[in-house]
Amino acid sequence: MIKKIENLNKSKIISRRLFVLVAAKIGLIGIVTSRLYNLQISEKQKYEVLSDKNRIREWKTPPQRGIITDYFNNIIADNQRVYQVHLSLEEVSNFNNSIFKLKNIISLKDDEIKKIYEKKEKSKPWDTIIISENLSWSEFSKLNLYLHELDGAKPVLSTSRYYPYSNDLVHVVGYVGDATTQDIQNKKKIEENFVPGLKVGKIGIENSKDTDLIGNHGTKRYEVNASGKKISEISYNKETQGENLRTTIDLEIQQLAQELLKNQAGSICVMDIYSGEVITMASSPTYDPNKFTHGISTKDWNKIKNNKLRPLLNKSLAGLYSPGSTIKPLVALAALEYGIIDTKFKVNCKGHDHPYELYGERYHCWKKNGHGWMSMRNAIKQSCDIYFYEVARLLGVDKLSLIAKRYGLGSKVLEDFFSEEKKGIVPSTKWKKQVLEQSWYLGETVITGIGQGYIQTTPLQLCLMTAQLANGGYKIKPNLIYDKEINLDAIKSKIESEKNKSVSQNILKDQEFKHYERLYRNPNNLRFVLDAMYGSTNEQFGTSFRSRHKEDKYKFAGKTGTSQVKRISDQDRELDLDLEEIEYKSRDHALFIAFAPYDKPRYSLSVLIEHGGSGSKAAAPLANKLIKKILDRHELREKIRKDLKNIA
């Protein structure tokens, strides 16, 4: 009986205790349920995203660069098929071993191997690195033969930049190379489309127009497993090629210009005087941009860098030279515009025995025996220094500077298109005070009148100056990329309509001009100067008379220039050495500016030969050949212009 009560008691205890346990279990199930609810219902999206992040991995595919052509659609920067070998890191069991094997098959150099190791350091374990960008066919086929021994190595057919006219256009088109950290930081477009192995423009149009040329990268999305192995392709957003660019360059003229400059240091620029299209911008010596595409070797680089004629310098727009006598038409124009003198003003040039004197300083003409009494036309034609010393003195440097700037000197011709372009110097009293913190001397005005002294110009500026004189005194917009907005007929008719309109004296004040605005006061002054340039080339005693074209359709007008690189001492003057007898570095720069055809001007050009001696001997003859070619190709160019206009 007692036992029974006891049992009943025990039974009760057990049941009570069970009840507590069951209650606790229900509570715990509640906790687990709410946790599951929280994970799977409330935060589902968060975990879905995380799950996709886990399983989906993106690979960027490189975009193809846009193609660059000349005005006539000749390809000057192309994409070429190349053979490459890539290494997929996740498939490589022993990296050192793989590199060692590859080294034997495709003959990698030590510095290349060093670069590969650097690349590997920066890569993620599932990345693919490029071992060699440009294999020869024999290396590529050898690689394919040994492929089974090389885990992770992938032979790849890719494209890379190729410049078919290698040396001829490097200063215009530029070249590409691997994107540096700086490139990526500087350009958003590069940052957005960066893919290992992406090539970006380093200089030239490739650099300036990188944003248009690069294109957009593609995206391949793969499902991957936990170890990063690709399981399946989910989507492929195809890459797009960059914009194709048509430049204003005429390949044939460019090639001729480079040919004419061969073995010399110098520049040739050709421009359409109405549209501002740069038809040629040659700089010599040149180098091969193709060498840069896959990274230039130290040996090649040193060869280019140590060349005394400085191939890396784009002389057309980054080379600074005294304009010499090529400034004289502008000095004459300034004096006429301000009414300082008239065209009949005469100065007597009496030779080296009776030089021009100012406060005891003596200034000589280049002509030993003197020119005699010179009028303005003759002074331009025969390039008399004495005459322009006097004109400059009367005019004053500030007025000269104002007109020089107006016609294109002292500022960048292509604005910010090329980072290396130089502004040059057009000195004035204010400039000297500000920059050199010194007062101006009258003697400095005198030598500025013959384009010596502080004044510094680029050949492209001289070409623009000539164009803006030859087109009747209108500001144009120089450009290198074909711009369909430029309406040639509209520009021409505007110039024609304003030719005989008179304007107020205010036009001679310092002011900013918009494109295609009139720059002159009196059209007769311009006409006079252009006619004097005609005389310089086409009449006897003209400095470029020997380089003239006799045939009417090729007739052009020009002005020579010979710019001193050092002061000529009385002793030098006595010796009067031949060019060959002077040390190269001390020889004068030869310059020539011209426009053609004379009766209906359309093209301007500038020629510069560094240390070439006199402008009439070294520079002007090149213009003769160039102008024939330019004018022969005129019809063809106009036809293309018309076609392009019709397309638009």
Partner: protein, 376 residues
């Protein structure tokens, strides 16, 4: 087995026995079993290969064993209870000398047909042993020091042996199962509170003797992002898998986390994660419901049993089963640190399956022979 009738007065005809079987329980076990086979099949990305084959075989063998052993009279289990305990301890000691090591711990004995994990068997042995122990003790005596110390020693021996393997998870489960029965038997609440306090005070000491990987697991539990690719990886990936499953799941064989191998230990401890990823919140709740029903049926059997042994065993086993399930699920959803505890029936693993099925046969035996009073 049939010979062991002498002690018992009640006799049962075969028909009686068949009638007494809890078919509902068997069906639940069969359903969970088939779900587990499909889950393992999914871990192999829908290939009927090694794991699935093994798991299916084991389930079928041990399930049949459960059905057959159900007919063993409950008094047999009662009488052999201490023998089982001693056998369990002996096997654990055997592990120390002849055990096979895997990933830093020595838990298994090679039986040629399978690797036996004695600690899994110990989980059942401790319940049977304690059920017998408290079967005869009167409730008034339970609070005495003698009856307090004896079970604690009985519990500490296997726990110590398992911790040193080391296998913290199983040790906790063994301790938990034992404590559940001590609680059911009616030990005063204050002792549990004291034990809790002592544990709390000795926590710093316990932490200092933990293995580095155990420490890192605990630290990781509090902050999984501490080492997302190392110690925190499992729990982060598990939560991602479960969370991305959503309401209805990604579908059978569509669990990306698992087939892309982001999920670690997906056959064993993380099987619930895979299941939850593929069948979502609804599927998970269904599985939990099935487990709840199973536990309910076991408690119900205990309730209708006459003997204290049967009652204590069923309640104890139900509590232990709940504990295994709770610890496993709480672990994979990030509520508890990862300690290594399989999900009953669902997880791949022979010893776990064996011990659960063995435990269930004792339950069923209690049902079939519910009228046995085993002399109380």
């Amino acid at each position: 087995m049939i010979l062991s009738t002498s002690l018992n007065s009640t006799s049962y005809s075969f028909i009686d026995k068949l009638k007494a079987i809890d078919y509902f329980l068997i069906i639940i076990v069969a359903i969970i079993g088939s779900m587990s086979v499909f889950s393992i099949y999914s871990t192999e990305s829908g290939n009927f290969s090694f794991y699935t084959k093994n798991h299916l075989t084991r389930f079928l063998v041990f399930f049949s064993m459960f059905l057959v052993l159900s007919f063993v009279r409950v008094s047999f289990w009662y009488r052999q209870a201490y023998i089982f305990y001693i056998l369990g301890i002996l096997l654990l000691i055997l592990v120390i000398f002849f055990g096979i090591s895997a990933s830093g711990s020595k838990r298994w004995i090679n039986l040629f047909i399978m690797n036996l994990q004695p600690s899994e068997l110990m989980k059942i042995a401790i319940i049977v042993c304690f059920a017998r122990y408290y079967h005869r003790i009167q409730s008034s005596d339970i609070q005495s020091y003698k009856y307090l110390l004896q079970p604690i020693i009985l519990l500490l021996i296997p726990c110590y042996l398992v911790i040193t393997q080391p296998d913290l998870g199983t040790a906790i489960l063994i301790a938990g199962s034992g404590l559940a029965i001590i609680w059911l038997a009616g030990l005063n609440l204050k002792y549990f509170i004291y034990t809790g306090l002592i544990l709390l005070v000795s926590l710093p000491f316990v932490i200092s003797i933990l293995k580095p990987y155990q420490k890192s697991r605990i630290l990781t539990f509090f902050n999984p992002d501490r080492d997302p690719l190392g110690a925190g990886y499992q729990i982060i990936q598990s939560k991602i898998a479960i969370g991305s499953g959503g309401l209805l799941g990604k579908g059978f064989l569509q669990g990306t986390q698992s087939y892309l191998e982001f999920l670690p230990e997906k056959h064993t401890d993380f099987i619930f994660t895979l299941f939850s990823e593929e069948f979502g919140f609804v599927g998970s709740m269904l599985l939990i419901l099935l487990y709840a029903l199973l536990i309910y049926r076991i408690i119900r059997i205990g309730f209708s049993s006459r003997s204290f042994f049967a009652k204590l065993y069923c309640y104890g086993f139900a509590s232990a089963l709940f504990l295994y399930i709770f610890v496993n699920i709480a672990m994979v959803v990030g509520l508890l640190p990862i300690v290594g505890a399989p999900l009953p029936i669902m997880s791949y693993g022979g010893s776990s399956m064996l011990s659960i099925m063995l435990g269930l046969s004792v339950v069923m035996s209690c049902k079939i022979y519910s009228r046995d009073s085993i002399g109380n």
